[in-house]
């Protein structure tokens, strides 16, 4: 059973993603901004983080930076899912250590679930 932390201020996204995920494989926790996200990262230790970029308080980019720079935060793969589609943004985010970038509005729930499967599958392979 894999734990997924969704950090996004759009509660609809978290809810719909939860409904779309096969309940036998994944559980979902959510956080509404980067600050709460950091806390939950430490306390819940998820297997995957799905991160939005435009959020109040601590936004996605700042969150990634903190993750990259810290030594005591667990190194959990981060899949960025956002509506921002500028090429510059995508390359910046990938350079900061994200494992993937999903443009929410371009993909269906199904394909996002497939992305999650793929990322977690690769992680499993890495660990083996």
């Amino acid at each position: 059973m894999k734990k997924i932390l969704v950090i996004d201020d759009d509660q609809f996204f978290a809810k719909t993603l939860e409904a779309a995920l096969p309940t036998d494989k994944y559980t979902l926790i959510s956080a509404e901004d980067g600050e709460v996200g950091l806390e939950k990262l430490k306390s819940e230790k998820p297997d995957l983080v799905i991160l939005d970029l435009m959020m109040p308080k601590l936004d996605g980019t700042a969150f990634l930076k903190k993750l990259q720079e810290s030594t005591d935060l667990p190194k959990i793969p981060v899949l960025v899912s956002s509506n921002l589609s500028s090429v510059k943004k995508i390359s910046d985010v990938m350079a900061m250590g994200a494992v993937g970038y999903v443009i929410k509005s371009d993909e269906s729930l199904q394909s996002i679930v497939q992305d999650i499967d793929r990322v977690l599958g690769e992680e499993v392979k890495k660990q083996q």
């Binding site: 759009d10 609809f12 996204f13 719909t16 409904a19 109040p56 929410k104 269906s108």
Partner: protein, 587 residues
């Protein structure tokens, strides 16, 4: 005897007649000769005058368009040979750098002759200008026949004519001859005429040039763009106040191109571009260059003078610094606005899409609570998008000046009460108290657009609810305020520490004032100034997952208030609360 007497008598008559005849013949002969002499003399005189005129005309043409005093003197001395006989001719001229003496020798003379001539020329110039000249600073040129020391002849006749331009003596023209007494005042009239003509022509030309330059300078001085012009030797000819400000020079410093090269550093190769433009005779326009806090587009243009045969000569280079900071700022604001709008629309639309996807895929039971929940979410998303679209429409109408405000007799109390009722349930669910305070000084009806005022109230009230935590309070008050009086005493605003004073309202005549106050988190001081005119939502902590909003509502509120001739404003203290207000003047 009678014949002898007769011939005797005839002779006596004839002799006087003969004498008279002879006398008459001689008289006419001499008279005729004199006349002939006179005519010849007149003819000579006329020829000479025609000749003079021709020379004057030619000189006039050659001198006509030159401002170079030295050139003019050279032309004159060069043509004098045809009119006046001289051993040597010369001129002395005052140039900005030094004094120049130029002598042309027609017939060989000794160095003594030359020396004396120069001394006399300088003496004349000194006398005319009341200045003395140091012989060491003289630039001397001698041309023509050679100086032969053995020739001991001295100056016999000498004549000086000053060259005066615009009232100032700029030089002296001198002719000298070894023969004495050659140059008499009346003979020299031709010289006076020539120099007089030249002087007049140059004076007039200088005046015209001065006027045109004055016009050009005035124009360049007043230009907002920075203008720099250099001549073909890269000396600074024009540098207007605007460019001195950009490069940060004092007003009266003498500028050179190096000052510009230093100041611009590596940002712009001004020297290189000027050379390129001068050689290729094309213009150059730069990309945006950042100097301090401003952005400039720098244009470099050659100053070309069209010669005959279709060629052109480069007289100099002009550099124009055009400030595009405002254009760039506008561009940035527009980009920001567009990306904000796109994002605000994409999220809710995507939400709806995904919800429908879920429902269609059958992952959820069709009659479960979950479905209701999802459909509500979809409804909320579409409602907020519609609101955004309406806001954008209103905003564009405001910006185009086409926002119409229909002033009608409307009851403000009704509108306030109606809005309170509308938001009551929502406020209660957030555990916020929502109440109204309507002063007794409110008239029954006022002239304003009820729909528009409702829109502003919606925006203010929903903002207050967003930024006030549970247990807080919101108050909507309405009253009439007079500029020099204090606020009415019957407003129930005790709980609200942040409330506008009369001076905050900014009214000039008695106005209807509506204030929405809350005990929320307040707005940081630095963010207040941006509130009513940028598209960024003020970055505040959100108490829950409300939709972020776009900040357009406040811009529209401002537009509505101003369309009524009123004001809009805010007072706030972080951690204590906020009051948004708008006023409508009572006609």
């Amino acid at each position: 005897m009678n014949i002898a007497l007769f011939s005797g008598a005839a002779l006596v008559f004839l002799i006087p007649i003969l004498a008279v005849l002879v006398f008459l013949v001689f008289y006419f002969y001499y008279s005729f000769k004199n006349k002939k002499k006179e005519i010849t003399k007149e003819k000579q005189e006329l020829t000479r005058r025609l000749y003079e005129l021709a020379i004057l005309k030619e000189l006039g043409e050659r001198v006509g368009y030159s401002l170079d005093v030295e050139e003019i003197l050279q032309i004159i001395t060069g043509s004098l040979r045809q009119l006046i006989d001289y051993t040597a001719v010369g001129y002395v001229v005052i140039t900005p750098e030094k004094i120049k003496i130029n002598t042309h020798i027609e017939q060989s003379v000794g160095s003594l002759f030359l020396k004396e001539m120069k001394e006399k020329m300088l003496a004349s110039l000194s006398a005319l200008t009341n200045e003395s000249f140091d012989p060491a600073t003289l630039d001397e040129v001698v041309s023509g026949a050679i100086v032969v020391d053995e020739i001991k002849q001295k100056i016999g006749s000498l004549f000086n004519i000053p060259l005066v331009i615009n009232g100032k003596v700029v030089g002296v023209l001198t002719i000298a001859h070894i023969t004495q007494g050659l140059y008499k005042e009346e003979d020299m009239t031709i010289l006076y005429k020539i120099t007089g003509q030249a002087s007049e022509a140059v004076s007039r030309l200088q005046e015209v040039v001065r006027m045109e330059q004055g016009k050009l300078n005035a124009m360049v001085e007043s230009m907002g763009d920075g203008v720099l012009m250099v001549d073909a030797q890269y000396r600074v000819v024009v540098a207007n106040p605007a460019i001195k400000k950009i490069i940060k020079f004092g007003e009266n410093k003498n500028l050179s191109v190096f000052d510009f090269v230093d100041s611009l550093g590596g940002k712009f190769d001004i020297r290189g571009r000027m050379e390129e433009v001068a050689t290729k005779k094309t213009s150059y326009l730069s990309e945006r260059i950042n100097i301090d806090d401003s952005f400039f587009e720098i244009g470099v243009y050659p100053v070309l003078h069209a010669l005959l045969k279709g060629e052109s000569q480069v007289l100099g280079v002009v550099v124009v610094f055009h400030d595009i900071s405002r254009d760039i700022e506008l561009e940035r604001v527009r980009e920001e606005f567009t990306s904000m709008i796109v994002h605000e629309l994409r999220s809710p639309l995507d939400g709806i899409k995904k919800i429908i996807e879920l429902l269609v895929s059958g992952s959820i039971q069709t009659d479960s609570e979950k479905v209701k929940e999802y459909l509500n979410m979809a409804h909320q998303s579409s409602a907020s998008m519609l609101e955004l679209v309406n806001d954008i429409l209103d905003l564009s109408k405001l910006q185009a000046g086409k926002f119409e405000v229909n002033k009608e007799s409307t009851n403000i109390r009704e509108i306030v009460e109606n809005r309170i009722m509308f938001y009551k349930i929502s406020a209660e669910s957030k555990k916020l108290s929502l109440s109204s305070s309507l002063s007794s000084n409110l008239p029954q009806t006022c002239q304003f657009d009820g729909q528009a005022v409702r829109q502003v109230l919606n925006n203010f009230i929903s903002n207050a609810m967003k930024f006030t935590s549970q247990g807080g309070s919101i108050l909507v008050s309405a009253f009439v305020s007079n500029p020099n009086e204090s606020l009415p005493a019957d407003l129930a605003k005790e709980k609200f520490s942040v409330f506008p004073e009369v001076v905050d309202l900014g009214i000039k005549i008695p106005s209807l004032c509506i204030v929405v106050s809350d005990t929320g988190i307040g707005i940081p001081e630095g963010s207040v100034k941006d509130l009513f005119h940028t598209y960024k939502q003020v970055k505040l902590s959100h108490s829950n997952n409300e939709s972020k909003g776009t900040g357009l509502g406040l811009v529209i509120a401002k537009g509505i208030a101003e369309a009524h001739g009123g004001t809009v404003g805010v007072v706030s203290k972080e951690g204590m609360g906020t009051s948004f207000f708008f006023t409508i003047p009572l006609s």
